[in-house]
């Protein structure tokens, strides 16, 4: 990052005032001590929205309000730009400490001490989290290619899919993480690690008659399964046919790997408008992303999201996740902000925008008329401006989510330890707040039948987001990632191209 520009924007302090840069121009400031020292705050452009409790608060004290008050109290000192040990820009926002975060991520991929034993079944996640975070920070991850290949091979099962470690049962989440990690390092040898035929058979064995996927054989069925499954199928360009052994197989051939997935997702929308992990549970941010990501893979979001979800309620719920003064997102109603929801909730907005901003499918009847839907009859307006406060989220991330000790890495909130999971998803959220995505219009000539996953491949275009105040320094813009696959777009393209060129499973 450009540390030079950051220095320039640093709040005047006694030490810099003494510097003999341009003495003649500084005269008035030097004589006016009161202006200089007493009115430091006005020098930093921090809206009071981020430095004061919200205007409406209830006097009733409960466990929830105590936790919320405690969080605001913990965040305010990081948001008000008054820590002398921290270098702020003119907006009172510290820079992104790339070097330390990258070092933290490299370490997290190295040998882990014994206390990490609880992660024994989720090592593939460490690969994805760290590599994805490094890629966003601009670090070259191809140096990890051979290591990822070896690690992935050691976790693949003959029956298809990848487990959390050697000789562990294959799991949807760990397979998703491995496939994305292989895509991140890229190259034929990495792609060829995946036994696609076995993967396809295994996915068929997880597919359920109600449309969803189990996360592993005999494991639970939830919306993670639907999202991870859709990602794996589309990236690897797997056939959609079901094996006769699949629980969802129908003799008349009317069911395939994606049949009923969208309906399963629809059943997870709750009365609040958000999405739950399984039907009938509470709306939760992580599952909202899984739901929208899954729908965005099934068809153009202007058709799939609009057809299967109550969009006005969903947007209301997503928007309610952002709090002030913290600026960050919470995962559920009346829960606390957490940096990871910068991605799980923040990452929903590009998909919602793609849904609203298409002139074609939005509210139209392009959606499959044979499905049970909650179609909106009136057209919703496009989201021309941001539906959430990008400034708020970026402030929360840069001020509250960076571990400012030697350790580096990103975290849930002040007072929590940084970890690989939060590093990845906080940076993903930062990336999505710093960029603007636009999706091509849906192809109206091909009906929805032709645009099912694997055939339709809409093109996303990305630009830096430049509207409104930019509170971070240009050098702190991280790289964009694909709004659905959550890895850089060129890696998505490369892996899809590779497998598109394949005939069958050879």
């Amino acid at each position: 990052m450009s540390s030079g520009s950051q220095q320039q924007h640093r709040r005047p302090s006694p030490s810099t005032s003494a510097s003999p840069q341009q003495p003649s121009q500084n005269t008035t400031e030097e004589v006016d001590d009161e202006l200089f020292f007493g009115a430091r705050a006005p020098v930093l452009m921090i809206p009071d929205l981020f430095t004061h409790p919200p205007p409406v608060r209830d006097p009733l004290v409960t466990g929830t309000s105590q936790a919320q008050d405690g969080t605001v109290e913990a965040c305010l000192p990081f948001l008000d730009g008054e820590d002398d040990a921290v270098a702020y820009n003119e907006h009172g926002v510290p820079g992104l400490d790339r070097e330390r975060h990258i070092r933290f991520l490299h370490q997290s991929l190295g040998r882990l001490p014994g206390r990490f034993v609880a992660a024994d079944a989720s090592r593939p996640w460490f690969l994805y989290w760290c590599l994805s975070a490094m890629a966003m920070l601009g670090e070259d991850v191809t140096s990890y290619r051979e290591a990822v290949i070896q690690t992935a091979r050691s976790m693949q099962n003959e029956e298809g899919g990848f487990g959390g470690g050697g000789r562990q049962l294959s799991h949807m989440a760990t397979s998703y993480a491995i496939v994305l990690s292989l895509a991140l390092v890229g190259g034929e040898e990495a792609y060829e690690v995946v036994d696609r035929k076995a993967m396809w058979k295994w996915l068929c064995s997880l597919k359920q008659p109600d449309g969803g996927f189990q996360v592993c054989l005999g494991g639970e069925e939830d919306i993670r399964g639907a999202y991870c499954g859709a990602v794996i199928i589309s990236l690897l360009r797997l056939p959609l046919d079901l094996t006769p052994e699949s629980p969802a197989y129908k003799e008349d051939g009317s069911a395939n790997l994606l049949t009923g997935v969208a309906d399963y997702v629809r059943r997870c929308q709750t009365f609040e408008g958000g999405i739950s992990g399984q039907p009938n549970a509470e709306a939760h941010g992580a599952y909202a992303f899984c739901a929208l990501g899954c729908l965005a893979l099934l068809d153009h979001p202007s058709r799939s999201i609009q057809s299967y979800l109550d969009v006005p309620r969903l947007v209301a719920w997503l928007s309610s996740r952002q709090y002030a003064p913290e600026g960050g997102f919470s995962g559920r109603t009346n829960k606390l902000v957490d940096g990871c929801y910068s991605h799980w909730v923040g990452g929903c907005f590009p998909l919602i925008e793609a849904c609203l901003n298409s002139s074609g499918g939005n509210g139209g009847d392009a959606a499959d008329a044979t499905t049970t839907t909650t179609k909106t009859t009136t057209r919703l307006p496009p989201a021309e401006d941001s539906l959430f406060s990008r400034e708020g989220l970026i402030r929360y991330i840069l001020c509250c989510c960076q571990d400012q000790t030697k350790r580096g890495g990103l975290r849930d909130k002040p007072g929590k330890m940084s970890d690989a999971y939060h590093s990845c998803y906080v940076l993903s959220g930062l990336s999505s707040a710093q960029h603007q995505w636009e999706l091509d219009e849906p192809d109206e000539t091909e009906g929805p039948a032709a645009s099912v996953l694997g055939l339709a491949d809409p093109v996303w275009a990305v630009l830096p987001y430049l509207d409104g105040p930019q509170v971070f320094d240009n050098g702190d813009r991280v790289r964009p990632i694909h709004p659905v696959y959550a890895i850089p777009q060129q890696q998505v393209r490369a892996v899809k191209e590779y497998f598109s060129g394949k005939k069958g499973f050879c």
Partner: protein, 346 residues
Amino acid sequence: MAALQRELYGGGVGKEGRLAGDSEWDDVSPIVVVEPEKALAAITYTQDYAEAMSYLRAVMQAKEYSPRCLRLTEHIIGMNPAHYTVWLYRAANVFALKLPILDEMAWLNRIALGNLKNYQIWHHRHLLVENYFPSIASDPAAVSAFAASEREFLAKMLAEDTKNYHVWSYRSYLVGKLGLFSDPDELRAIDAMITEDVRNNSAWSHRFFLVFSDPSASTPGTPATAADPAVPEAVVDRELAYAREKIALAPQNQSGWNYLRGVLVKGGRKLASVEDFAAGFVTGLVEGAEDEDVRSTHALDLLAEIYAEKGDRGRADLSLRRLGQKWDRIRVGYWEWRRKCLEVGA
């Protein structure tokens, strides 16, 4: 019986924690996994853990289901409760050995209380209930007794963490499985939690499920945000009154408002039917004055919808503007979008 119990639960494995050299395991050749040279995020396992896992791989490969395997899974779960492969293998042992499900439940309760955030425990419990329920399904007294013991256990878990997502998800599964929708004890338990913390959104969500997904008083498959004519009017009235009473305690609590709105939609009622109630939390809203008093931004949000519903676009727009300008500024982008919704009549 006690000896058998020890054989299955709490008996441990190996001699002083070591399996090698213990005659009980002599017939098993442990399978050691050698990590590739460049393995990423490789964990430096303790010797005990590494050894136990190597024996586990061997018995899993041999598809052995036996008391010693059950004890081995207990041993490993004690060291790492977040290992889905071990849990599924444990379940397979329980079922293959036809162990009394309630014994396994009792063991699981102890593990669960020490591992609040754990995922696998709840799926294990789910599998146990799936297996156990058919044996009591035709006996209402047994179902009721089982529901009561589960409720007691859930109360203990929720006392530790009132919004634990896994616990609540399991609870909704249990309600569906055991048909507890119209069970007054279930509704009472949830009411008690809302009384204790009116902002507990998990409890509110569960209540909505209990009331509006009851198969005897709802249309299966109706989306959660759609009206359902099968819901009795009296139920809608009761729930509206409940929500209003709770909102009055803490008007800025979004849980109550989300519930209120959800009930109105479910009951096919006009939002305007609560206009007077919502208006009680907003005073002095006048175009150009900008000196209104707002005790609940959620009331103002609902009022904006109510005005739009009644065709009063000017007042709806004013409400949304004031939310974005003063009362809920972090969401100004959303409020502005809602203003555009007014223009297109969405």
